[in-house]
């Protein structure tokens, strides 16, 4: 715990006529880029951002015992009453489950007990997959706001929503707290509070690492709205020459076939961008067709 607390520090630096606040949260490097020369204001805004990011991490991370997610996952079938914010996130997850015909499922995390995406070659048996699927499925969850009952052995994981949600929360707070334009960038998922004034647009590099180790970067110019990226090309399984992506389809328990290496989507909010990129990954070979159909701007890397 002491190590965690000491890691919770912020720093402010001047870069290219801007001030940048940095801290670590949700296992990602976080950056607040502000079109401002006022260090005091920058520190104040970064402090707001970091406190909110850490609050969300503490409350919803499945790695921190005793928080609301921990309480739900250790409820052993009993009914839990959740607070408003948790309820809103669960409502959102329920909508996404419906929208994706069951492919986006916050109960699918237990599949990782049999699928380990560490670049190795261990493929689970169909029997093991079928067994674990008994513990997966939002449709088995009794959710009647604000009451939730989870079957024994099931777990929820809000990790697929948390970071984007945090970016949007912080964006709203900083938009209200300051007149200057700021970019909220949590490990590559980012949003802009308002269009910048001293420059045409902010520049955002979308980077991913290819399996060979080479880095790739496309630079995007963003004036307003948000960007989110799904996919991590270092997480995969190789078996008999078949590359299994880390995107699991909870309806089958198997990795999605033909998922792109990464998908970056631009949308009004980071939450929308993140969900669209995740949903497109779940479409596998049809990722681009899906995004084209939705009429959104995206950058897909295969």
């Amino acid at each position: 715990m002491a190590a965690r607390e000491s890691a919770r520090a912020i720093s402010i630096e001047a870069e290219q006529g801007c001030l940048v606040g940095r801290f670590d949260a949700m296992a990602s490097p976080c950056e607040i880029l502000m079109e401002s020369g006022d260090r005091e204001q920058a520190a104040y805004l970064t402090r707001i951002a970091a406190d909110e990011a850490w609050r969300i991490e503490d409350k919803f991370s499945r790695y921190i015992p005793g928080n609301v997610v921990g309480r739900i996952n250790t409820s052993n079938g009993s009914t839990i009453e959740v607070d408003d914010e948790t309820a809103s996130l669960l409502d959102f997850a329920a909508s996404l489950y419906k929208l994706s015909d069951g492919r986006f499922d916050i109960t699918s995390g237990v599949l990782r007990e049999v699928w380990r995406f560490d670049g190795g070659n261990r493929i689970p048996t169909q029997r093991a997959v079928s067994e674990i699927l008994q513990r997966v499925g939002w449709s088995r969850v009794a959710w009647e706001r604000p009451l939730l009952a989870l079957e024994t052995g099931m777990e929820i994981d809000l990790g697929g929503i948390g970071k984007e949600y945090a970016v949007d929360r912080v964006t709203g707070m900083l938009c209200a707290a300051a007149e200057c334009s700021a970019v909220i960038n949590f490990g590559g998922d980012l949003a802009v509070t308002r269009p910048p004034r001293q420059r045409e647009s902010w520049r955002a590099g979308i980077e991913s690492l290819s399996p060979t180790g080479g880095s790739s970067e496309t630079v995007l110019a963003i004036r307003s709205g948000a960007l989110a990226t799904s996919g991590d090309s270092r997480r995969f399984l190789l078996n008999d020459g078949v590359r299994y992506s880390h995107i699991l389809d909870p309806t089958s328990g198997w990795p999605v076939e033909g998922a792109p290496r990464s998908v970056t989507v631009a949308a009004d909010t980071c939450t929308q961008a993140g969900m669209l990129s995740t949903l497109s990954m779940l479409q596998g070979y049809n990722a681009e067709a899906f995004l084209d159909g939705e009429g959104v701007r995206y950058w897909c890397r295969r």
Partner: protein
């Protein structure tokens, strides 16, 4: 000697690149190649011309 990756703000500036203006560097290399007995140094620069 050296800096950490997050201390590259100044070094990343365009005016801190070794060759700020590639065309001007090529033009200068070419002019001096054709008027003096030395060439190159920075790179290969300047040749490919009957002027010297």
């Amino acid at each position: 000697m050296g800096v950490e990756p997050w201390e590259r703000d100044i070094l990343a500036k365009e005016e801190m690149q070794l060759t700020t203006d590639p065309i001007e560097a090529a033009i200068d290399d070419h002019i001096y190649f054709s008027k003096e007995a030395s060439s190159g140094g920075r790179g290969f620069g300047g040749g490919g011309c009957g002027c010297n």
